[in-house]
């Protein structure tokens, strides 16, 4: 009996002393509840299902399993920061907050903690300057890229000249919604169009006054920077005042099926910018079905597969996995730290050939990140909603951002931040 106890105690002691099998922790600051849940759920499902696929099909990244703990933020900045604080001790490699508000709060914290943030196509635009924001990434494009691409697209629709045209920006009255204003103002100076700003307060359930102003001012194009219910109501109101839907263009966060379906036929022709493909006609979906959906390991009920936000969650996870793989190669270890992950993100290179290997041919833009450029290629395509078929279609190739306008703005804003935060920009070779 005594020997058994000693053996048991020894086994326990050995068990405790042996380091646990290393896991790569990619926390998900998700929002599956609250007013923004319809957008948070498909993104979180896509993010999680891709990691599950890598675990189930490949046995993890280079054999190391992924852990994807979720923390519910409710799209609330305070809760988002709490989630960050409560999960960073797990060895979290990268955060994807899916909220500009949360990202703004985490920028100084994560930088101090040396934990990378990937605010993919959201957050603080000037974080694209890696010389100042060493741990913050926003590839494959920024809000300012998106704004300039939308204006470029409008120019192409108008035969290259939009001087004298009237553009209106209907935006979520928050840090997120205000991001494109400066770029659009610069672009209006450059191209000679007038810009009307129409803010909509959270959550955007009632927008009658906004759309009465649109009816009165009759802009040639309306650009939208919305999120959640604001998108659905705006599209319904636009249809209601018979605003031509093909002259109504949303940012990539106003571009999901959720946004257009409630408006029914009225949403037909609505356009939005995107940085990835639509639908589920990609080889990876066969693998997802085999290894994730059919084995009951999917994060959701499977109804979101192939939707815009599910695909976006998936592409975010894909870039995280590829960055981790790159970090392992750079540092010649499978036990990577958040700082090593940052190095991997900075050396990320997912070209078309790699996308093909991943079962995602043509799914998104080729991304090459560098020490100086954390914003990626800054490309965006325009997608259009077909209300009858209930699906999005890409109607343009990927269009490059107006670097002549965007880059000086990034330089200026990041320099101001560096001064304010007392950061000496690093040099990049």
């Amino acid at each position: 009996m005594k020997l058994t106890r000693i053996a048991l105690a020894t086994a326990l002691a050995v068990g405790l002393a042996t380091p646990a099998m290393a896991e790569l922790v990619f926390p998900s600051l998700s929002y599956r509840t609250g007013p923004y849940a319809p957008n948070g759920i498909p993104f979180a499902d896509g993010y999680s299902d891709y990691f599950t696929l890598i675990n189930e099909r490949d046995g993890g990244i280079e054999g190391v399993k992924i852990d994807n703990p979720e923390c519910e933020t409710g799209y609330n900045t305070t809760k988002g920061v709490e989630c960050y604080e409560s999960t960073k001790g797990l060895g979290s490699l990268v955060y994807q907050p899916l909220s500009t508000g949360i990202t703004y709060q985490l920028i100084p914290k994560a930088t101090a903690d040396k934990v990378p943030i990937h605010s993919m196509g959201y957050g603080r635009t000037s974080a694209a300057n890696g010389k100042v924001f060493e741990y913050i990434f926003n590839y494959p494009g920024t809000y300012w890229d998106a704004a300039s691409i939308i204006v470029k697209y409008i120019m192409s629709e108008e035969g290259g000249d939009i001087s004298g045209k009237k553009l209106a920006l209907v935006y979520h009255n928050s840090a997120y919604g205000k991001e494109p204003i400066r770029t659009l103002e610069k672009l209006s100076e450059k191209h000679g169009f007038s810009l009307t700003l129409l803010p909509v307060d959270h959550p955007g359930q009632e927008q009658k006054a906004t759309w009465l102003q649109v009816r009165r001012d009759r802009p040639d194009y309306v650009i939208m920077w919305g999120w959640g219910v604001m998108n659905q109501v705006a599209i319904k109101e636009a249809a209601s005042i018979r605003f031509p839907m093909d002259h109504f263009i949303g940012v990539w966060w106003s571009a999901s099926e959720n946004d257009v379906l409630p408006a029914g036929d009225g949403a037909d022709g609505y356009k939005a910018i995107t940085f990835h493909g639509v639908g589920d006609d990609f080889p990876i979906y066969a693998d997802l079905k085999k290894h994730v959906y059919d084995t009951g390991k999917a994060a959701g009920d499977g109804t979101n597969a192939g939707t815009v936000l599910y695909n976006r969650g998936m592409v975010a996870a894909m870039w995280a996995v590829e960055a981790a793989r790159t970090a392992m190669t750079i540092h010649d270890t499978k036990d990577i730290t958040p700082a090593m992950m940052r190095d991997g993100m900075e050396a990320l290179n997912v070209d078309e050939a790699r996308l093909e290997e991943l079962g995602l041919p043509g799914f998104t833009v080729p991304v090459k990140v560098s020490c100086a450029n954390h914003g990626g290629p800054g490309l965006g395509a325009i997608q259009q909603w077909d209300a009858k078929a209930k699906k999005w279609s890409l109607i343009t190739d990927y269009i490059p951002a107006d670097r002549e306008v965007v880059d000086p703005l990034i330089e200026e804003d990041s320099a101001a931040y560096a001064k304010e935060a007392n950061i000496t920009p690093r040099t990049c070779e």
Partner: protein
């Protein structure tokens, strides 16, 4: 000055119709407060829950399907093609009445004779429970609600006046009138209505003549549930049924402050004043203040009224003698 052009009147009419939408939510608050003195924080969530249930029945969604599938490993989503809209409305009404019974039985009946603040806090808890229950039962995705209400601008009004007026909002105004007439008839000319007013006037006296407080509360919460269904349908048809629908309660609060917590006509008039006021302010003065004034302006307007009439326009003056 553009104050009397077509656009000005379009703003006024749109404001009035938006105000009616706010009043539909405010009515539920008034009914419960008038009969029981409870400020029902959960009224917005009741509207959400009612709309979710209606869409669930309409589309044939299996309630708790996520939970069932997670526990049993099944893949059940729908039980058929769905239910006819009329039947779905009847079933939803029954659910709301059943829910009212549960709320009274499980929560409120245990809190009889408690302070108003305790009852208010109970409704805060109720709001969270119902929101979670709605999520588990029907899922959090955006649902399209179509009960056959007209949508889009009215061509007749455009041709006659040049104004764009939403047919859905005209329908909401008609429904609101019918609702107020029905509630007035119920309250003034039925035995149950008289009992409700008796309880509202004096709980103790009503109890002493044999009126059951629990039954009255059940009836009141059922009626508030029905009003919530109407509000949920109107707002759900406007924006799709989703969890932000519960936030429509925020639009009802200034209406209540202005119209009074105990007056049905007050809820209507208050809604109209808030609706027109916020639209005119946003369009003619908002741009000078950076826009997006609607949310705070409604509260500011209500506060200005409160300075002169703390009980609201039609509310009862509360005098507490020490």
């Amino acid at each position: 000055m553009a104050f009397f052009d077509v656009f000005f009147w379009e703003v006024v009419v749109s404001g009035l119709l938006a105000g009616v939408m706010y009043s539909l939510v405010a009515l539920g608050f008034v009914l419960i407060f008038k009969a029981s003195g409870i400020f029902n924080f959960a009224q917005g969530v009741l509207a959400l829950f009612a709309a979710l249930t209606l869409v669930g029945f309409q589309t044939g969604q299996v309630p708790f399907s996520h939970l069932i599938n997670a526990v049993l490993g099944t893949n059940i989503q729908h039980w058929g093609e769905g239910t006819h809209t009329f039947l779905a409305i009847v079933l939803t009404l029954l659910v709301m009445i059943g829910l009212a019974w549960l709320i009274v039985r499980l929560a409120l009946s245990k809190l009889v004779n408690q302070e108003g603040i305790i009852l208010f806090m109970a409704t805060i808890g109720l709001a969270y429970v119902l929101e979670g229950l709605g999520d588990i039962m029907w899922g959090a995705d955006v649902k399209t609600l179509d009960v056959g209400l007209p949508t889009g601008p009215s061509d007749t009004i455009i041709d006659a006046t040049g104004m764009f007026v939403e047919k859905l909002e005209i329908a909401a105004a008609i429904v609101a009138v019918l609702l107020v007439v029905s509630l007035t008839i119920f309250s003034q000319y039925t035995k149950m209505g008289r009992a409700l007013r008796a309880v509202a006037d004096d709980h103790q006296a009503a109890l002493s003549v044999g009126i059951s407080l629990e039954t009255i509360w059940w009836v009141v919460w059922s009626v508030a549930g029905i009003v919530a269904l109407v509000a949920g349908v109107m707002w759900g048809a406007k924006s799709g049924v989703q969890f932000s629908l519960s936030l429509i309660a925020l639009k009802a609060l200034p209406v209540l402050m202005l119209g009074g917590f105990t007056s049905i006509p007050g809820a209507i008039i208050g809604g109209l004043i808030i609706g027109v006021g916020e639209k005119l302010f946003e369009i003619y003065l908002g741009p000078m203040l950076g826009g997006a004034t609607e949310n705070w302006f409604a509260y500011m307007l209500a506060l200005v009224f409160l300075l002169f009439r703390p009980q609201g326009l039609f509310g009862e003056r509360i005098i507490e003698r020490v």
